[in-house]
């Protein structure tokens, strides 16, 4: 019972009841305390119900009576199933109070459910701490600079803030395991020359930002590499180095192709084919823009060049006469006209020259093709004729003895045919087994490939499993650490282990008792069976003896007397047995009554009765006072 009371008191303290330190069992609760405890519990369980209830008993009797009734009502609404009324609060007894408080405490909402939803991880504890600190800082009201407490100056002034400006850092790479082959030069550099991170920056304030940037950079690169390796790299069955080098060449090729495709001017593709309108292409066009115009200038035809040249010449010759003295107007005009005619004549001649040249070019190209054709044909003709000549030469050589030679030729041809066929069959004997072998080996190879790809997929699934398990293990570790820290931070007043020990003890006790009870029950059953047996035997024996003796009793006097004695004996023994049974029953009743007395004694009935009588007297007084008031007014 003490543990139950301790738990109840602890719970009530948490709810807000002021239980003083000396009270350590429910028996010592006064009515005031009971009322306070119950009201606080109801307020937590159901704020709507609890708001209307006072936390302390008012002095007036009728008011107390009313409060008691409403409390009882509230408790019933919450769900307490036992008998409850105003007397439970005003004239309490221990067992009722205990059961009521236990019911209320059980109904208190659980706080533990909140924590299980939050994410685990030891960083979570840190994050919660950070959030709490920031909340506290935000809660502090803003004050102008000169009014601030020195405690807050650091966090509230703007000098503490810096913009996020990251600078590149050089760090020595973290090598896994002893890198014995690391170059000595590199080691020396890292040891002597490479400045520490804090000295590498031009702005000291950007240290945090730079470190964060560098770390995130490396972390994301490593993660990306992991992802890529796990998805594509393993599939390609290359070592990481080979995979990387292959990827590099592939990317370079693509860049080259892109540049090349953008380089090809659109006019080359026939019928205005697909012009790549990529940004790259346009960019390259802008680069080319200035260059093209230069080209156009330089690509000018012979005609335009000569034209320019002639103009220059002409202009030179024109400018010359002018400074050499003043001529008359008409002379100047005439000269100009002459020059114009000459220029026009020249122009026409150049045009005709150009036309002539183009016509010549066409003609030449056409004759060129004709020449090439002729050449080709004659070449082919020559080779064919040579072949024919060879054959004819040989035939001429054989002509003199035509028939014989023909026969000989036939025989020769047939013989060589046979020989060829023979050779072919011999070759076939060699070739066929080789082909078979090649094919079987290829089959074996492809089977191996299948096997290896199957094993690859198995390996990959194993990798996945490993990853998942490590994740889970890590999470569990973190959760464990977090819970351990939380456990340490928890208040130590309630020791759950003591309770659990006690509960286990009680459970084992109950088990033992149950065993004993079953043993006793079985013993009792045995005894009862024996009694029944013996009673039955007794009756039967008596009946038999009775008959036997009665038969002889008619004849003999002594037998009649012994019969009378037998009957009396039986009678007395029966009475004895009856008395014993009654004694047993009475003893049991005594025990029951004693138990009842004990429970009733705990109810403090006598004190309660006295109090009830007092209160009854008070109420009667109040009633008469009220009646008098009513009569007066």
């Amino acid at each position: 019972m003490e543990e139950v009371d301790k738990i109840l008191i602890h719970a009530l303290k948490q709810v807000g009841t002021e239980v003083s330190e000396e009270i350590d069992s429910v028996r010592q609760f006064s009515s005031e305390l009971i009322v306070q405890a119950v009201v606080r519990c109801i307020q937590v369980i159901d704020p709507g119900l609890g708001s209307s209830l006072p936390t302390s008993l008012p002095p007036g009797m009728s008011a107390r009576f009313r409060v008691g009734m409403s409390l009882a009502q509230a408790c019933q609404e919450i769900g307490y199933k036992g008998e409850i009324g105003y007397q439970t609060f005003l004239y309490s007894n221990e067992p009722e109070i205990r059961s009521l408080l236990m019911c209320l405490v059980e109904k208190l909402p659980r706080e533990g459910a909140e924590t299980s939803d939050q994410p685990t991880g030891k960083s979570v504890v840190l994050q919660r701490g950070i959030a709490a600190a920031i909340k506290a800082q935000l809660a502090v009201p803003w004050l102008p600079t000169h009014c601030r407490l020195p405690l807050n100056i650091e966090t509230q002034s703007p000098e503490a803030l810096h913009s996020f400006h990251a600078q590149p850092l050089r760090l020595s790479p973290f090598t896994k395991g002893p890198e014995k082959k690391q170059l000595k030069v590199k080691k020396n550099y890292q040891r002597d020359i490479l400045p520490p991170v804090t000295a590498q920056l031009s702005f000291h304030t950007s240290l945090m930002a730079s470190l964060l940037e560098k770390h995130t950079d490396e972390l994301s690169a490593a993660q990306e590499w992991d992802n890529e390796w796990n998805s594509q790299g393993l599939l390609s069955r290359l070592t990481p180095k080979e995979y990387r080098s292959r990827k590099l060449t592939r990317l370079r090729k693509r860049v080259k192709e892109q540049l090349r495709a953008a380089e090809v001017p659109a006019s080359e593709s026939a019928f205005g084919g697909s012009r790549s309108n990529t940004d790259l292409f346009e960019l390259l066009q802008t680069f080319k823009g200035s260059a093209l115009s230069d080209l156009i200038l330089t690509k000018g035809t012979h005609f335009t060049h000569t034209k320019k040249f002639t103009f220059e010449q002409e202009s030179a010759s024109v400018t010359n006469p002018i400074p050499s003295g003043h001529q008359s107007e008409s002379d100047i005009q005439d000269r100009q006209q002459m020059e114009l005619a000459a220029l026009q004549h020249q122009f026409q001649q150049l045009c005709s020259d150009g036309d002539q040249l183009t016509a010549d070019m066409k003609h030449i190209s056409v004759t060129n093709t004709q020449m090439l054709n002729e050449l080709k044909q004659s070449e082919l003709g020559i080779s064919e004729k040579e072949n024919k000549m060879q054959v004819k030469k040989k035939t001429i050589g054989l002509l003199p003895d035509a028939d014989d030679n023909l026969l000989k030729l036939q025989v020769l041809v047939e013989a060589s045919t046979k020989r060829l066929v023979n050779l072919a069959s011999q070759w076939e004997k060699h070739r066929a087994p080789h082909m078979d072998e090649y094919r079987t080996l290829k089959e074996i190879c492809s089977n191996h490939d299948l096997e290896s790809s199957r094993m690859m997929s198995e390996i990959r699934s194993l990798h996945d499993k490993i990853r998942i398990s490590t994740e889970e293990a890590r999470k569990k570790e973190e959760m464990y650490k977090q819970l351990v820290t939380e456990l340490e931070n928890l208040p130590q007043d309630v020791s759950r282990s003591a309770y659990t020990q006690r509960i286990l003890e009680i459970v084992s006790n109950i088990k033992k008792q149950k065993e004993e009870i079953t043993k006793i029950l079985s013993d009792t059953k045995e005894l009862q069976k024996e009694i029944n047996n013996l009673t039955g035997k007794l009756d039967r024996t008596f009946a038999v003896t009775d008959e036997l003796v009665f038969k002889d009793a008619k004849k003999d006097e002594s037998v009649r007397k012994s019969y009378k004695y037998l009957a009396a004996l039986h009678e007395s023994c029966n009475q004895l047995i009856q008395t014993i049974e009654e004694t047993g029953t009475i003893l049991r009743e005594i025990r029951d009554l004693e138990e009842q007395i004990e429970t009733e004694n705990g109810n403090k009935t006598v004190s309660n009765l006295e109090r009830i009588l007092d209160d009854y007297k008070c109420i009667r007084h109040e009633n008469s006072a009220l009646a008098a008031k009513v009569r007066e007014g």
Partner: protein
């Protein structure tokens, strides 16, 4: 008598020089490998990869092209592909192709021969029997086929091969634009035809040289070309050709053609640099109408249509020769042509035609 009989038997082989060059065997096995397994007498190692690329077994597509042919390095190749089905003596082979190379253009002949050889190979499982049959054809011009008959070379005249295509189909597909093809062929220009299906390409291109029947030159025909360096180099050696491509990329290669024929869309395009040589005038319209009329006449057969065209061509050529005779040493010059005051398109055409027929003075 003995010799006479023997002489007769040898008649076939002696009338023409040896035309067949080699026979080769490509197999595809259960592992998915396509290998060149056997050949007789030999195939140049440069030519072998080209032939392998032409064989449909090396290509990724599912479809089997039973018979394809083409020209490479002045030799014709004929590839017959067969899927192996039970009963057979071949183990682990799913498909195979027989490649016959020869100097002459005669698809029907070599197709028939290849079929016989294929059947022999399937039944026998070893190429020896095949080689025997090949040798008999080579030496005697005749070969026993297992279908109660024999294969005789003399049954397959080359003229039949030339006339086997259908000129009427060409005209019905392109109508009056056939005159562009006619002009290009007459002027020995480069024609490129594109169609994704090889059979359609072969069927169409093989009939085009028939438009210039007076030359009877099928060496300009390259019906199956891939855009690879060795083949394109070989193609460029010919000044004028009819080339067929299945690769649609060829439309971007304006350096390869003067006339581009998109067979699927029935569109003929003349490239920029050939436009002035290919200008057409009244003469062309006349010839074009003649071609269309002749082809549309349902009572005239294909060979008759070709004959009509060749008659007209001969007429034009006779005129040209006459013009040339007027000049010294029977060679035409541009001035001589200009004196006749032809309309400029006709003059241009005759000028280029004279160059093609080698009637121009150098």
């Amino acid at each position: 008598m003995h010799s006479a009989g023997a002489l007769k038997g040898w008649n076939m082989a002696t009338t023409e020089t040896q035309l067949m060059l080699s026979v080769g065997l490509i197999e595809k096995d259960v592992n998915g490998d396509t290998l060149w397994v056997w050949c007789f007498p030999s195939v140049d190692p440069d030519v072998r990869p080209v032939l392998l690329s032409k064989c449909c077994l090396t290509q990724d597509g599912r479809d089997l092209h039973t018979f394809v042919f083409g020209q490479f390095r002045r030799a014709w190749y004929y590839i017959t592909t067969v899927e192996v089905q039970e009963p057979t003596a071949l183990k682990k082979v799913t498909h195979f192709s027989i490649v016959v190379t020869a100097k002459d253009f005669n698809p029907e002949k070599y197709s028939a021969l290849s079929r016989i050889l294929c059947r022999m190979y399937i039944n026998d499982g070893s190429p020896v029997k095949m080689m025997e049959a090949y040798l008999t054809v080579l030496t005697k011009g005749i070969c026993q086929s297992d279908e109660n008959g024999s294969f005789l070379i003399k049954d397959y005249d080359v003229r039949r091969a030339y006339l086997a295509g259908s000129i009427k189909d060409v005209v019905s597909q392109f109508g009056l634009e056939t005159i562009i093809l006619y002009t290009a062929l007459m002027l020995k220009k480069r024609i490129v035809v594109h169609h994704p299906r090889i059979e359609a390409l072969l069927e169409f291109t093989r009939v085009l040289p028939a438009l210039t029947w007076h030359r009877k030159d099928w060496s300009i025909l390259h019906p199956y070309v891939h855009l690879t360096d060795p083949e394109l180099e070989d193609l460029k050696k010919c000044p004028g050709y009819v080339a067929g491509f299945v690769d649609p990329e060829v439309s971007n290669r304006s350096d390869l053609f003067d006339v581009y024929v998109n067979l699927t869309d029935s569109v003929i395009t003349v490239s920029q640099n050939a436009k002035d040589a290919m200008t057409m005038g009244k003469l062309h319209k006349e010839v074009g109408l003649l071609i269309v009329q002749s082809a549309e006449d349902s009572e005239r057969s294909d060979s008759q249509v070709i004959k009509d065209i060749s008659v007209k061509t001969k007429e034009i050529l006779a005129n040209l020769v006459a013009l040339a005779d007027e000049c010294e040493d029977s060679k035409l010059t541009l001035e001589g042509l200009k004196q006749h005051h032809f309309p400029p398109a006709t003059e241009n055409f005759l000028f280029h035609l004279a160059a093609a027929e080698q009637l121009l003075r150098i």
